[in-house]
């Protein structure tokens, strides 16, 4: 009997991990790192793994295992929580006027190098060979029993298709017997709907920004699938074991200077901006993304940016709206409030210029860093002058998750010290606080916790003690490393 999972405007990530028992989770995590902590081993036949936030209801597919959801944990079908990761490519090249491969349907094999293409057609039983690198396409179409081959791939194919794609009865990153190849060899972003039906096989990390993902019977799927709206029909063939669910944030899709962020409407977002924003205005950063790029501070505004401003004489601070012609500063965190769902990217912004002369953090993944100056606290700290602490709103500017334990402080230009050392010296707390939109409250962690991380686009609070008065306090921020 067919079972249907259909939800209106559901935010879901679905994980089908099949036949990847030989893969170490860490190897996948190295590429698709952080963001979602899945539950590890689910050594149960037939599990369907769903993670995400669901605004609607979800029904379990009959007889086929467990559904894992996010916000919708009230649903009895949901046993674990997680969230759908924001992030999708922006800064699209001009695919409408790119090289056209629509006549390639008559080629038995199309060996395509990374690049930008308009339409690519692969004919019946024909083969498309892709290599390490990034592909942009307006549309990709397949004939029946066609094949997307990644046999030469040692790293990852990043395939970004603007329009809808139908993978029905197509082998995508699978072998000739429809056994999935390592899913981390394919990161696929779709700007439109994706259909995988009628005996197709797909192995990869598939992210849909707004489109609908449809599976039906006889599909072999491996990897992770993220979509707002998902339709799963007849899970009877999803009978393989789920093992070593990977950590996923679709990071490869969200590369430097092409990152696009979707923010929920009706909420505040405490953000860092992963680009060189020093001296850039609000309009220059967000104006190309939002409808009304000249907000006036009136009630008709649908979005605004706020910054934290600090007293020079005591530890009080307050929020100030940054006007559209107001400038933004590297390393500073901001609040973005928006009435409607919005998407922003980094179009027109330069990459962060990282320093390669960084303190030893004993983490080979950290090769770059950036130093920002914090506002030291004041000793005029007797309440009501704000108390003995200065709370500084920082913004992480990296595109890869960083561990708080890899951050360093320099006091008056001295040696780099850990947050714990700064704390033990009575200068700065080794805690950070990060806003959690799910509870509208703050989460916190310390640098002796290996899981204490700052994700791209996040802001975070740092607490400086009044003992930092008249001292220069520099924060050295690593570029990734988690």
């Amino acid at each position: 009997m067919d079972s249907v999972i259909e939800s209106k405007r559901i935010k879901i990530i679905i994980f089908f991990c099949l036949c990847i028992a030989s893969l170490q989770a860490a190897s996948i995590g190295d590429i698709f790192k952080s963001g979602l902590q899945t539950t590890g081993d689910l050594d149960t036949s037939g599990d369907v793994f769903l993670i995400g936030e669901a605004d609607g209801t979800i029904e379990a597919p009959s007889g086929s295992g467990v559904i894992h959801c996010g916000e919708n944990t009230s649903d009895p079908a949901c046993t674990k929580s997680g969230q759908r990761v924001n992030g999708a490519p922006g800064n699209w090249p001009d695919v409408d006027n790119a090289e056209d491969k629509s006549t390639a349907w008559n080629l038995t094999t199309l060996d395509l190098q990374p690049g930008t293409y308009r339409d690519v057609n692969i004919g019946y039983q024909h083969k498309l060979i892709l290599h390490n690198g990034t592909y942009y396409m307006r549309k990709l179409t397949f004939g029946s029993n066609a094949e997307l081959n990644t046999s030469s791939v040692t790293n990852t194919v990043q395939l970004l298709i603007r329009d809808s794609t139908d993978f029905s009865n197509v082998s995508v990153n699978c072998d000739s017997n429809d056994n999935p190849l390592p899913p981390h060899h394919l990161a696929f972003y779709s700007g439109g709907d994706v259909t995988i039906t009628d005996g197709g096989c797909i192995s990869g990390f598939v992210y849909l920004l707004d489109g609908k993902l449809t599976f039906n019977s006889n599909v072999v799927a491996a990897g992770a699938f993220s979509a707002d709206t998902m339709s799963l029909l007849d899970q009877s063939r999803i009978t393989n074991r789920v093992d070593d669910l990977p950590l996923v944030d679709f990071g490869p899709i969200c590369q430097s200077n092409m990152c696009l962020v979707k923010e929920k409407g009706g909420k505040w977002h405490m953000i860092g901006i992963p680009a060189d924003i020093d001296g850039k205005t609000v309009s220059e950063v967000f104006g190309d993304d939002f409808d009304d790029n000249n907000f006036t501070g009136s009630s008709s505004d649908t979005w605004r940016i706020y910054e934290r401003t600090y007293s020079d004489t005591d530890n009080t601070s307050s929020y100030s709206m940054v006007p559209t012609n107001g400038t933004l500063h590297q390393g500073q965190g901001y609040w973005l409030g928006n009435q409607n769902d919005i998407v922003w990217d980094l179009d027109g912004l330069a990459n962060v210029t990282w320093d390669t002369n960084c303190p030893n953090v004993n983490n080979s993944k950290v090769t770059e860093c950036l130093t920002i100056r914090l506002k030291s606290a004041s000793d005029n700290s007797t309440p009501p002058q704000g108390g003995p602490y200065r709370y500084f709103l920082s913004g992480y500017m990296g595109l890869k998750t960083a561990r708080w334990m890899d951050f360093r402080f320099k006091i008056n230009g001295g040696s780099a010290i850990t947050p714990t050392e700064a704390h033990d010296n009575g200068l700065i707390d080794n805690q950070i606080w990060i806003y959690n939109e799910g509870s509208n409250a703050y989460d916190t962690c310390v640098d002796d916790d290996a899981g204490c991380v700052v994700d791209p686009r996040e802001g975070f609070w740092i607490e400086l003690n009044s003992t930092t008065t008249n001292q220069t306090i520099d924060l050295i921020i690593p570029n990734g490393g988690a």
Binding site: A21, S22, L23, Q24, T39, G40, D41, D43, T57, E71, N72, T73, S74, D75, P76, S81, R241, D243, D244, G265, G266, K267, W268, D301, W303, R304, Y306, Y319, S320, M321, W335, G337, N338, Q339, N360, N362, Y391, M405, T418, T420, E421, H423, D429, Q431, Y435, N436, G438, S439, N440, A441, Y442, D443, T444, C445, V446, D448, D449, A450, G451, W461
Partner: protein, 255 residues
């Protein structure tokens, strides 16, 4: 391949544990769940995890789409029974007219997101926390989660770094944990019949916060009441609250 390796590891572990069972290590016996068994009553052991651990509470107000997983409690060797550097201060939630859900531990009149203690096997550990929201009368559900053992190592700067292992819902420490609703005077076991439980309560008409106590007992918790639930009911769309309209002037008022 990996599952075979895993099976071998499990087999080896069980075998080693089996060999250890009954071996008296000073005053302790280690059973096959890697827990300490009190030698004076090995038939009814008091399970205690070896080493350090943590767990977190998941609190949810489904009608307002609020969920908070941030409250962490546990034990670290260098923590103290009271306030110490292992306890992490809570920051007050922004007061911008939005729905909020805070979960904070109370100690010495201060509020914390994370509380670690170091209590001996012979002591009962009590940890008080508050659930606070912006609106009264809401149904709140507390989910109990498994136990994550902590491994620690000293890094090159001399800092002791902790890494939580994966959360284990079969850890026998859970059998010693219970929740006390100090208002309803209800006691709820964290685990019952091998299943993690949840607890639902409804805030009163003028009630925006409620105090609870987590008790780590020295022995198995034995509660016969049926206040806890291992399953949850489905939320219908008619139960959902209307989301407050975002006031873009709110930050000017500060929190």
């Amino acid at each position: 391949m990996k599952s075979i390796f895993k099976a071998l590891m499990v087999t080896s572990f069980v075998a080693v544990s089996f060999l250890m069972t009954g071996c008296n290590d000073g005053d302790k016996i280690i059973d096959d769940n890697n827990t300490v068994v009190h030698p004076e009553n090995p038939d009814n052991p008091t399970p205690t995890p070896v080493g350090e651990w943590q767990s977190n509470l998941s609190v949810e107000i489904a009608s307002a789409k609020l969920k908070n997983d941030s409250a962490i409690f546990g034990q670290k060797k260098d923590a103290k029974k009271g306030l110490d550097k292992r306890d992490l201060k809570a920051m007050k939630a922004p007061n911008w007219g939005q729905n909020t859900l805070e979960v904070v531990f109370e100690m010495d009149g201060k509020e914390f997101n994370t509380v670690f203690q170091n209590v001996s096997e012979e002591e009962v550990q009590k940890t008080e926390f508050l659930i606070r929201t912006n609106k009264e009368g809401r149904e709140v559900r507390i989910f109990f989660n498994g136990i994550a053992q902590l491994s620690s190592e000293v890094d090159h700067t001399g800092r002791t770094v902790y890494t939580p292992k994966s959360t284990d819902s079969s850890n026998r420490l859970l059998e010693r944990l219970k929740l006390i609703d100090t208002v309803a005077k209800t006691e709820v076991p964290f685990i019952k019949d091998g299943k993690l439980q949840s607890y639902v309560f409804t805030m009163g008409n003028n009630e925006k916060e409620r105090k609870f106590t987590i008790v780590l007992d020295t022995k198995h918790v034995d509660i016969s009441s049926d206040a806890s639930q291992s399953k949850v009911s489905k939320l219908t769309t008619t139960d959902l609250e209307e989301t407050p309209v975002l006031n873009l002037d709110a930050p000017l008022e500060d929190e």
